[in-house]
């Protein structure tokens, strides 16, 4: 059977390298090669045939390009030299290092000056309170919760917006006042939070000393938030900026100082009256931490105390 013999011949090429090389060189060393091998040999010979016209069409262009490449002339297609690559990498590393350093410097400066906390307090927290909280609480509950703290803080009577802001203030103030409870004793309204806190805690104190002049009004809200949000990370920095920052440590301290309730009452209204607008932002986040001081106040504050508990 020819097929069988063909199979044997094909298998033989696997073990006899001389035969196998002859097959692919187009020379049939074996007279027993099957008939179809003639076709293979024809293909091999044609595949190794002389150049055809269309294969050398590009000769002028390619040879000229080769000559220029050999002589080292610049070619668009030539890859970059290793030296150029090294210089490029060095430049890229330096640029990356400079960028990193500048970004870290900016971040440190922002954190030190309180810009981040201020922005967070004036922009982020109000936005969350006005849009996100209603969505979470179906709109109604947040409104109900918000007024409660406000009542405690300020007068408790009017619009929900201002009282909400007051909450954070109070929270900040309350804890602050906890620290500032002593403040109240020492100084009165204007100097209240900053100085006292400074006295209570050494590090923030110096910074707070500066803040009291402007204080209660606009800046307080910002620190309150910063205290709530970033208190763990950078308490010292936040405290330096404003008295509100004193509120940051407050949550932690709030439970300890029992004297706070009284001062809380006194500074609370003053803060609410002046800064109310800005202060409102904090409550949502601050609600949980301030709750502790709120509990301390409850006995003192009649209506507000209940409202605060409700919020918490």
């Amino acid at each position: 059977m020819t097929p069988r013999s063909d199979e044997l011949w094909v298998d033989m090429t696997q073990f006899d390298t001389h035969v196998a090389d002859g097959v692919w060189d187009g020379m049939a060393p074996d007279p027993d090669a099957p008939g179809w091998y003639a076709d293979v040999r024809t293909l091999v010979h044609r595949a190794r045939g002389p150049a055809e016209p269309d294969e050398l069409v590009d000769e002028p262009v390619i040879v000229d390009t080769m000559r220029r490449a050999t002589l080292g002339e610049t070619l668009a297609q030539l890859p970059h030299r290793p030296g150029v690559r090294t210089v490029g990498r060095l430049m890229a590393l330096k640029a990356a290092a400079a960028t990193t350093a500048s970004v870290m410097t900016m971040a440190a400066a922002a954190a030190t000056t309180g810009i981040v906390a201020t922005v967070a307090a004036t922009v982020v927290v109000p936005a969350i309170q006005e849009r996100v909280m209603p969505m979470i609480g179906h709109g109604d509950p947040p409104a109900a919760e918000a007024p409660a703290p406000t009542d405690t803080d300020a007068d408790g009577t009017p619009g929900a917006a201002t009282p909400r802001r007051c909450d954070p203030d109070e929270d900040s103030c309350v804890p602050g006042t906890a620290g500032s409870g002593a403040i109240d004793a020492s100084g009165e309204p204007s100097s209240t939070p900053g100085t006292t806190t400074g006295a209570a805690e050494p590090a923030p104190g110096g910074a707070t000393a500066t803040s009291p002049s402007q204080p209660a009004g606009a800046q307080e809200p910002a620190p309150s938030e910063s205290a709530t949000t970033t208190a763990a990370t950078a308490p010292a920095e936040t405290t330096t900026t404003t008295p509100t920052t004193t509120s940051a440590p407050l949550p932690d301290e709030a439970p300890s100082p029992a004297a706070s309730p009284e001062p809380a009452a006194s500074p609370g209204p003053s803060l609410n009256a002046a800064p109310g607008a800005t202060a409102g932002s904090a409550p949502s986040t601050a609600a949980s931490p301030p709750s502790a001081p709120g509990l301390a106040r409850r006995p003192d504050l009649p209506a507000g105390g209940t409202a605060a508990t409700g919020s918490s």
Partner: protein, 189 residues
């Protein structure tokens, strides 16, 4: 191909940018390079061949070796350019088919001439395509380097980064497939 004796002088002169030497090298090896590339990337073969020759020109001043070494080096560059092209093509998801191939397909359709007549009419590239038409990519590459490149098994194995035994097995299986394709009588069991 070029004679063993004359290659060192030609390579030396080509490395200095001598036009005649570069032309001689190009005429001697361009057909094989182009057939090798056209069999595997028909649409981009001409461009790839240009890139191959530019690579050759850049490395000529540093090349040392005989004619077989030059062929091995040349097809190593060609294979690398082909691999780069396939990577790019895989990202682009576009297959370029040369118009000549479409014409050939029409001409040699199922109702075409008998096999012997067809083989007689084949050009060089047609013969190469016919050789590897039924082969797997690895088999086709081994056969192309072996036949078109004229390289020994050891050199093919080095270029393909395989063992010589593996290359021999690939060629053997390719021969089996060719037997089935051309003879229609040999069982592959």
């Amino acid at each position: 191909m070029m004679h063993e004796a004359e290659l060192p002088d030609v390579v030396d002169a080509a490395g200095r940018g001598e036009h005649w030497a570069l032309t001689q090298l190009f005429r001697a090896y361009q057909p094989a390079v182009l057939r090798y590339l056209r069999a595997q990337a028909a649409g981009a073969a001409d461009d790839l061949a240009s890139e191959v020759w530019i690579g050759v020109a850049r490395g000529l001043p540093r090349f040392t070796g005989d004619e077989a070494a030059f062929r091995g080096w040349l097809f190593t560059i060609a294979r690398r350019r082909l691999i780069d092209h396939r990577r790019r093509a895989a990202r682009q998801r576009t297959d370029v088919v040369a118009s000549e191939r479409l014409d050939v397909a029409v001409e040699w359709g199922p109702s075409g001439d008998p096999a012997s007549t067809v083989l007689e009419r084949l050009g060089a590239q047609g013969a190469v395509d016919e050789l590897v038409a039924e082969l797997t990519p690895e088999q086709a590459e081994a056969v192309l380097l072996r036949v078109v490149g004229g390289l020994p098994v050891t050199e093919v194995a080095r270029i393909m980064q395989r063992e010589p035994g593996t290359v021999r097995v690939l060629c053997h299986r390719a021969l089996r497939r060719l037997a089935v394709h051309l003879g229609d009588e040999v069982s592959t069991t």
